[in-house]
Amino acid sequence: MNNRVVITGLGVAAPNGVGISAFTTAIKNGVSGISYHKELENLNFSCCIGGIPEVTEAMKLQYFTPLQLRNFNSSGILYGCIAGVDAWKDAGLHITTTDTPDWDSGTVFGTAVSGVDKFREAIYKLDDKKVKSLGSTAVLQTMASGISAYLSGMLGLGNLVTTNSSACSTGTEAILMGFERIQSGRAKRMLVGGCSDHGPYLWGGFDAMRVITYKHNDSPEKASRPMSATASGFVPGSGAGALLLESLSSALERGAKIYGEVLGGAVNAGGQRGDGTMTAPNSIAVQRCIKTAVENAGITADEIDLINGHLTATSKDAAEINNWSTALNRTGKNFPYIHSLKSMIGHCLGAAGAIESVAAVLGLKEGFIFPSINCEDLHPEIAGIIDPEKIPQKLIENDKLQTIAKASFGFGDVNACIIFRKYNQ
């Protein structure tokens, strides 16, 4: 018998709000976290805007020791630790100070690229023939699993401690990996999520690929336009989202508050066959991933009330809507509500699926559908598939919200889809 898996804690460091309370207020009010960054212009970027969470020095000291902050230069790990530790505490769990780790708790905390600034710093020293001066911190902040290693140390985790990486589907994939571990009884609690660095040394490659928008340097808050006819590429973001997943029995035993339930999900890949390439999704694979997620969750497609889309604000948005519509066999007025958090925070890459899932779970718990901003000029191709009213441009308070589907797709033609449901005994 599989264990039921619920969400008992949330944490977030997003461009429009750090901490669950600030983030909730921001997403309900459609507040953009995108701003102009002079540093990008100085480096000749076409896109000089991005989403960066605001973290003060005083906040850092609430999560890190002064020693940990010495020569610390990895924004992804910073955001990941803030979100991760917050989720742990939000779940009412304490941090063990004994010599024994918590054998029943682990983490799958993903990242697409980590520690680029630290890596850059190290490479300059190396080329200057000063290898010794790297000290002890370069490896720890640039290893892919840096984030899970930091979190494990802060929380004393004794179960699976690892980092997954699957480009922009990383965050959603992490949740499913943790879910499966609890479902199969190999852990009681899994801290899951994703984090991503900010800044030119991560975003530069996307600027060069011309997949990020260069048309809104003067209007950053209008720049991220998922589903809009004038969408012109995504806006790079950064940050982290974290969820504390727990077996239902453990949550009930502890009397923990329950945000919602993970019913199931699916990950797959399109193999870069058909219309799939390194950078474009194979539509058949996307549809299959969604259908399998619905099936694994033990629900029917008609039960989905809301879709928290991948929807990045590129020319692929219409294709994504078409894939959802085909997979769920729902169109027009019969289509679920659909929105994109990227309209407010941009595309947070390896953290995207995690931050967006935090938003989804908050909406489920509190009964609201956050607005998808910047799509007042809906793409005609999308309007041809679904009723425009299904894309909320203003906040909808809806306590009947029961089931949300969340998907993320990534370079390499990889997909992840997860089904969240309001917790019902």
């Binding site: 002064p66 020693l67 010495r70 020569n71 010794k132 001066s133 000290g135 002890s136 911190t137």
Partner: protein, 84 residues
Amino acid sequence: MNKEELITSLKEIVKPYIKDENNFEHLTEETDFLKDLKINSANLVDVILDIENAFNIVIDNESMEKMLTVKAAMEIITTKLKEK
């Protein structure tokens, strides 16, 4: 620089890395960085980098391996300062 001054400077340098406040308060020449001050062994390389910067000296790998106590550190620093 006399012995007291050298110990004071060293104390200042290792301060961010120590995990045992009591032994740090009572630091003597015999104090062991790892056993007494509970400095994480990975951080020893950072301590040595900080010493190099503070005294503007270069500590070679062989000397570095010996620098496990306050006394050894003082001897190596004094030797390196003389070589300058």
